[in-house]
């Protein structure tokens, strides 16, 4: 079943993005070199950037449709977004950060859900700390927990490991794989690293220079496959 349908165009200076793809449940990788337009597309899905043309729908709800003049504001889309740099609120504790999305989205407090996600991401012992006191890996795990606790309809992870060193990358990937297997939230996972995506993705959308080169299985992570498409 198609969960996310994206068909957008956007011009940024001399750079033109034209992307059309669909995503089912599981983890859809937006894969390509830096400058391919991956984050731009993720931002359009989340509503942080407005496409020039096209449409985006999620679970049968139209989030954006240029022709019908529909543009649901960011805060009503309920799309959890884990940014490359975490973006935890520095003035709030970890617990307050985790609660932020739930409170702002008007989701009732659910102690079991909180405990479950804190355990899943192994962040229960960090709750009273400030973001500045966390390691890079801990910060990203809290960012994932914060996005999950708002009960998102879709979770976007934009290069969530890119700011981490190798040891922390290895530390956090198993959590994300567990998340894929245990939480029933569809994910869009932005990355330029095939090794990372081989472990987590269930579908690959391959991008280059603002265009979709192909979408399908994990074999698209392979360089030779792309040469064949070209």
């Amino acid at each position: 079943m198609i969960v996310l349908a994206v068909d957008v165009e956007r011009r940024l200076g001399a750079f033109q993005i034209t992307a059309r793809f669909e995503a089912e449940g599981g983890v859809t990788a937006l894969f390509g070199p830096s400058g391919a337009g991956k984050t731009t597309i993720a931002n359009m899905i989340a509503g942080l950037l407005t496409p020039d043309r096209g449409s985006i729908s999620l679970d049968g709800t139209v989030l954006f449709d240029a022709a019908a003049r529909i543009d649901m504001p960011v805060h009503r889309r309920r799309i959890g977004y884990v940014f490359q740099d975490g973006r935890l609120f520095p003035h709030l504790s970890v617990r307050q950060n985790l609660d932020y999305g739930r409170r702002m989205s008007g989701v009732a407090r659910d102690a079991d859900e909180f405990a479950r996600i804190a355990a899943l991401l192994d962040i229960g012992h960090l709750l009273e700390r400030r973001p500045r006191m966390l390691s890079g890996g801990e910060r990203q795990r809290v960012a994932v927990g914060r996005a999950l606790l708002m009960r998102p309809r879709l979770l976007i992870l934009d290069e969530p490991l890119a700011s981490l060193d190798l040891a922390h990358k290895r530390e956090i990937l198993p959590y994300l794989v567990r998340l894929r297997d245990e939480a029933s939230v569809p994910m869009v996972y932005v990355s330029h690293t095939p090794a990372e995506l081989r472990r987590i993705a269930t579908k690959v959308v391959r991008l280059d220079a603002g265009r979709v080169l192909g979408s399908g299985g994990l074999d698209l992570l392979d360089e030779r496959e792309i040469d064949a498409i070209r």
């Binding site: 973006r87 609120f89 400030r130 996005a147």
Partner: protein
């Protein structure tokens, strides 16, 4: 030396009341204008920016005169407010608060604006993806992060309001118990023979109040800063 006469106490308490009311009333406008100047591009922005800072560079007596002809009883704004809301400024302590607020306003807006400009807008995007509408983003992310700047603005405005003289005396005169603040009282005392001792006491009070305001602001700013440092 600090045996204050009732008249001196009156001047001190009046100064504090005028400065507090002026600062409190200026604050919402200061935040709104700081935000506007930091975040929005619009026609006439440079002009608005200039007008905001005008009281800082104009002779205070000019500001006071402008207040008199616009907010005085026969001034267009003053007459309107008096007729419709019963708010009278001329020769009242409320007028002193208005002139002090106007004089302190530029000093308040500047640090607030700078603090808002320094905020990482990407945190606001993150808050929006988490379900916060524009107003909640401002309330829960923008304003708390700008707090050190807001505190600095409040203290500067308060200190300026506490010492304001020229615009106030021009606008609402120098009436003991109504518009005679510490500065005006010192000025009056220095005009009469033998007033130096009393003036000296008030000068010391003025120094003490200014120092207290600075120390308080330092303390608040430190506390606000500590919240970002962790634990």
């Amino acid at each position: 030396m600090l045996d204050l006469t009732p008249a001196e106490w009156t001047a001190i308490l009046l100064s504090l009341r005028v400065a507090l009311v002026a600062t409190a009333c200026a604050l919402p406008f200061g935040i709104a204008l700081g935000w506007l100047l930091a975040r929005r591009e619009f026609w006439g922005k440079t002009l608005l920016d200039g007008i905001t800072f005008l009281p800082l560079v104009l002779p205070p007596v000019v500001t006071g005169y402008l207040l008199l002809i616009s907010f005085g009883r026969r001034g267009p704004i003053g007459a309107f407010l008096a007729d419709h809301f019963g708010i009278v400024f001329s020769f009242r302590w409320t007028g002193a608060a208005l002139s002090c607020g106007v004089m302190g306003f530029p000093l308040m807006v500047r640090p607030i604006r700078l603090a808002l400009e320094a905020i990482d807008r990407r945190l606001e995007d993150a808050a929006a993806t988490l379900g916060a509408n524009g107003f909640l983003v401002f309330l829960t992310v923008t304003l708390p992060l700008a707090l050190p700047g807001v505190i600095a603005g409040v203290v500067l405005c308060f200190a300026r309001a506490l010492g304001e003289f020229g615009a106030t005396i021009t606008f609402v005169s120098n009436i003991p118990g109504e518009t005679q603040t510490i500065s005006a009282a010192i000025y009056t005392l220095l005009q009469v023979p033998g007033g130096e001792a009393a003036a000296g006491r008030l000068v010391l009070i003025a120094i003490a109040l200014a120092l207290a305001a600075l120390i308080a602001s330092e303390w608040f700013a430190r506390r606000a800063g500590m919240r970002f440092q962790g634990e």
